[in-house]
Amino acid sequence: MDFEDAPQEAAYRQKARNWLAEHAPSHAAPAGGAEPEEAMMRRARLWQKAKSKAGYTGITWPADVGGQGGAPIEKLIFEQEEAQYRVFTIPFQVGMGMCLPTIIATTPPELARNFVEPALRGDEIWCQLFSEPGAGSDLAGVRTRAVRDGSDWVVNGQKVWTSYANHADYGLLLLRTDPGMPKHKGLTMFFVDMRSAGIEVRPIRSMTGHADFNEVFLTDLRIPDSQRLGEIGAGWRVALTTLMHERLAIGRDPDAPGAEELIALARSLPSGTEGGTMLQDSAVHAAIARFYINDAGLDFLRMRAQTAISAGRAPGPEASIGKLVMAKTRQDIGAYAMDLMEGGGVLDGAGGALLAAFRYHYMFSAGLRIAGGTDEVLRNIIAERVLGLPGDARSDREKPFNTLDA
């Protein structure tokens, strides 16, 4: 057992480190103060372009679509090293992580290349138009309708919770093409130019106060059949390949406060005894230990996944645990940190920067527990796909979609 890179991996890491040390600092977030959104987006695009020039994008994708044809361990190593810098990559994550892998899986390489390359270069951003007001966890219940009209499809409906729809050039779009079929069988996947007539994007302000995502209204939108991905009626299967990629992204947010920050906070708070601090309280120890167990436990799961990837195996079921544990732990530790302050924690300015971070993640984690699969959906995935338990009892699976109660 060891934590060393294999010689080839060490060489790749060193090369990536050297390159990052030279280039990443000039693309990192400016110190202190809020950065305007446009500046952040520009920073993200420039960073993506710089990485692309140096061969650090599409690391595992085949060369014939514009990727590097590298090994999964190289991608992992680069991401680990990149995470040491405060560069902004999130606007490209939906495209790199989900949309483009779906394009690559469903499109001949010479066509896929036309979309992969501009995205890798940072010129084009992708979003994922899956969820609807009436279809979240039950994604196969999407109602947005696509009706065939000659060589086009005409689309009407509404998508929601779409991150970066307001900046995106393209979107991956899951639509109902045959309401007479059972729900999973009447769906088809498309991609769409987000500047097409008939698309209206409206930002939604989340409970954090920021516009974290959008709702997207589709009215008489025309999509050529050439933008269909996979067979008509095969949309659910295509969507599952997209979502499988989503589950593998289990990075740790390096800015999120954890057990060590909670120790610092507890040490700064006086207890009832003369000269004592909250850090001497056994109940506080138990809480800190509980949060450490979860966060460090996820670190170790990632190390196990890296071991598998390094050996050329697919990461095991550990990949499905990450977000489930991480999001709830952020919420619990945030609540606990504020609780230590008692009434003093009520004001926004209380506790300085340390408590502000706990407070922010307490708010944000409420959404994180829903995004990309709710806690309940993730537990179902673990129970059914990892443990092999039977699926939920469902009354809607075999019936034509248009006969179901809304």
């Binding site: 506080v284 800190i288 670190d299 170790f300 645990i321 309940e376 537990r379 129970a383 443990l387």
Partner: protein, 378 residues
């Protein structure tokens, strides 16, 4: 990155799993008898090299290390194999290895070949971790009482006690239990499979283990090692209960469906799985720290201890709940795991003690002790 057991260690796991395959049936037999342990299974375990696995070859052992012990511990824990493996191999032999010297030269060869069974006698009732032992050694002879002691039927015990030369501290001693001056009693205990009891010493000859006055440091080290080995036992037990629950939830029907299709059931099993996998990561980290004598050992041991205790307790408790009334019967094996889970949670220090140890280790790390490199980059 190689954060897993090696292929050779996995092959050892397969052998151990075969060896302990009918452990649960054998454990069940222990419930209805007064026998100290299953002699046939113990003989087979000795034959496979379990007792000498981590003892040096020149002392008659196999010359492997802590990682191999972790693998065997997990498999023994899986079926509650009724043998004194934990007491003799994981605790007594490891303690004697730490102390070295004459005691090691005398006893390790005999422990390796399974000629003697060892145990560790530290506790003197509740609260023993916070005070000096009352057992005392005068002119090389031990007097006092120790309880609870696991596998009190052992042949030798590693005992904490105070001698004049220990000054304000205490020391460790090895005592042959097969003599008039020692009385071994088995007492009714929570664990229905592994025996616990009391040892009485009335001026029994004792060989010193380690230097005078170093008992506390050795106890700390022993506690960390025991926490990690126990974590593997706990994970094995927890996995066994999870597997049983999954099988039952796929068979048992209620309300016209397999009960495993209900989210109230399947989500709890998912939680069981999550706790086990988190504990496995901590236990692996502990195994690494133990095998490399890493300075992260304290933190790793506390993480392994707490996470594995949580995983096994949860699995053992929820397994009874999931099996319904049948799980509450004497006849069913659920309570054997339930008893083992709680018993392991208490021995070697409770959750409050280990939480404090964890926070101390974590706070020391945050205070400029640069322990972080191996976890960084994630």
């Amino acid at each position: 990155m190689n954060f897993d057991f090696s292929d050779e260690q996995q092959a050892l796991r397969d052998q151990a799993r075969k060896l302990f395959a009918d452990g649960r049936l054998r454990a069940r037999r222990m419930v209805e008898t007064e026998r100290p342990f299953d002699r046939d299974l113990w003989r087979d375990a000795i034959g496979l090299g379990c007792t000498g696995a981590a003892i040096a070859e020149d002392l008659g052992g196999v010359g492997l290390g802590p990682l191999e012990l972790c693998v065997i511990a997990e498999e023994a824990g899986r079926t509650l194999a009724p043998i004194p493996f934990a007491s003799s191999v994981l605790h007594a032999s490891e303690a004697i290895k730490l102390g070295g010297g004459e005691a090691a030269a005398t006893w390790l060869p005999q422990l390796a070949e399974g000629a003697v069974i060892g145990t560790v006698a530290f506790a003197e009732g509740a609260g023993s971790w916070d005070r000096m032992p009352e057992a005392s050694v005068i002119d090389g002879c031990l007097t006092g009482a120790k309880q609870p002691v696991a596998d009190p039927c052992a042949d030798i015990a590693v005992v904490s006690a105070r001698a004049p030369e220990d000054g304000a501290g205490f020391g460790w001693f090895v005592v042959d239990l097969r003599q008039q001056a020692v009385q071994c009693e088995t007492l009714p205990a929570l664990d229905a499979v592994r025996r616990h009891g009391r040892l009485h010493f009335a001026s029994a000859p004792a060989i010193r283990l380690g230097a005078p006055g170093t008992g506390a440091a050795m106890a700390e080290r022993l506690m960390d090692a025991a926490a990690i080995y126990t974590a593997f036992e706990q994970i094995g037990g927890a996995e066994a209960q999870l597997a049983r629950c999954v099988a039952y939830a796929g068979t048992r029907r209620a309300f016209g469906a397999q009960i495993g299709s209900f989210q109230g059931v399947k989500h709890r099993l998912a939680d069981m799985y999550v706790k086990i996998e988190l504990a496995r990561g901590h236990a692996l980290y502990g195994a690494w720290a133990l095998s490399t004598e890493a300075r992260e050992l304290k933190l790793a041991a506390a993480g392994a201890r707490l996470s594995a205790t949580e995983a096994f307790s949860f699995a053992a408790e929820e397994a009874i709940e999931l099996h319904g009334g049948i799980g509450f019967t004497w006849e069913d094996d659920c309570h054997l795991y339930y008893r083992r889970a709680r018993s392991l949670a208490m021995i070697f220090g409770n959750a409050a003690r280990w939480s404090q140890r964890l926070v101390n280790a974590l706070a020391a790390k945050a205070h400029g002790n640069p322990d972080k490199e191996c976890v960084d980059g994630f």
